[in-house]
């Protein structure tokens, strides 16, 4: 329950961050959240929303691609890496 609350809070912070945070801070938070929470699908939504907000047709949707890479990397590495 505690974890879920924390996750919802992180979602709200990241969603607001998608709108006004500088790209490097948002990227850092997305990577951190992707590795911290299990199966963090939300990161994909954040990437897409960021690209819809600031990208344009013709530009590669960098945030969506990075979010996808984070999600894949976290899915693979999260079960194999232990933090002590």
């Amino acid at each position: 329950m505690q974890q879920l609350r924390f996750r919802i809070l992180a979602d709200i912070v990241l969603l607001a961050g998608v709108v006004f945070l500088p790209w490097y801070l948002l990227l850092g938070l997305m990577i951190a959240a992707g590795f911290f929470f299990p199966k963090y699908y939300e990161v994909l939504i954040f990437g897409v929303v960021r690209d819809i907000l600031y990208g344009y047709a013709g530009a590669w949707p960098v945030f969506s691609i990075v979010a996808f890479a984070v999600w894949i990397a976290a899915s693979i590495l999260r079960t194999r890496v232990a933090f002590h």
Binding site: A16, V19, F20, L21, P22, W23, L44, V48, V49, D51, I52, L53, Y54, G55, Y56, A57, G58, A59, W60, P61, V62, F63, S64, I65, F68, S75
Partner: protein, 269 residues
């Protein structure tokens, strides 16, 4: 001994779900890269708009509070502002009064938009580079103020972008200097028509045949009658072995610190 047959259902699902996610996501990336629908972007802008406004309001208040304690910073900002104004004045000297008079006469004759301020809409920049990563601005006027895609965006007499998406109260401006964006410009004494490629952050590069003479500090104008400047020649790289010179163009505007812009002048109008 009898063994129960293992069900493949769970395994198949485990493979299928990531496969579907990858497929959907790839399609999404392609969609974002090629065609974007306002059906999706309009609700996103609608949700983001209050956050931008709150951020703007909060930053404005904070700035006002901090000004009293930050005289040094204020002096530095003032210096930067004066430097920007000096650059703009340099550019104005190049484009000169002769150009302006000629433009006014031609515009009047052709009954087109000119330097008349009523043809432009003043807009406040809500978000812009480097925060956005892409060379895009979000401005606080949209379809309700008559903004349409394709409109040119200017600041201090320099054209630096074009409206690419329009929402109700906001619009997205793509800078001409966005990486990979090709813009037709006029350069040199002969007004040679060449393509300038965006390099991000208000910079361009032009591959110019050696026969065309260009000097550092010259203004580069958008192609088209009466179009204003997009930048000035900053550096020319010439190699004897290369039939082309590389001309580096820089916007006299600091695009990272543009608070207001003017929107107007439709493309090809």
């Amino acid at each position: 001994m009898t063994y129960l047959q293992r069900s493949n259902h769970g395994r198949r699902r485990r493979i299928l779900i990531p496969f579907v996610i990858v497929l959907v996501f790839s399609l999404l990336v392609v969609w974002l890269h090629t065609a974007r629908s306002s059906l999706v972007s309009t609700p996103v802008y609608f949700l983001a708009y209050p956050i931008w406004k709150i951020e703007d309001f909060t930053l404005g208040k904070l700035d006002a509070m901090l000004t009293a304690f930050a005289s040094k910073r204020q002096l530095e900002e003032e210096k930067n502002l004066l430097e920007q104004k000096l650059k703009a004045a340099e550019l104005a000297a190049y484009t000169a009064d002769a150009y302006r008079n000629e433009n006014t006469l031609l515009h009047a004759a052709l009954n087109r938009m000119g330097s008349d301020p009523s043809n432009f809409v003043l807009a406040y920049v809500l978000e812009g580079p480097p925060r956005t990563l892409y060379d895009t601005f979000i401005i606080d006027v949209g379809a309700k103020a008559g903004i349409q895609t394709g409109m040119r965006v200017m600041a201090e007499g320099v054209v630096f972008g074009e409206v690419v998406e329009v929402g109700g109260n906001i619009a997205k401006v793509r800078l001409h200097s966005a990486p990979g964006v090709q813009t037709e410009v006029l350069i040199g004494e002969e007004s040679a028509r060449v393509m300038a490629e965006g390099r991000g952050g208000g910079n361009f590069i032009i591959e110019l045949p050696k026969g065309i003479s260009v000097r550092t500090g010259e203004a580069v104008r958008l192609s088209g009658e009466g179009m204003p400047a997009i930048g000035i020649v900053g550096h020319i790289e010439s190699k004897p072995s290369d039939p082309f010179d590389k001309v580096y163009i820089a916007s006299p505007l600091n695009i990272f610190e543009v608070p207001f812009v003017m929107v107007g002048l439709r493309v090809n109008e």
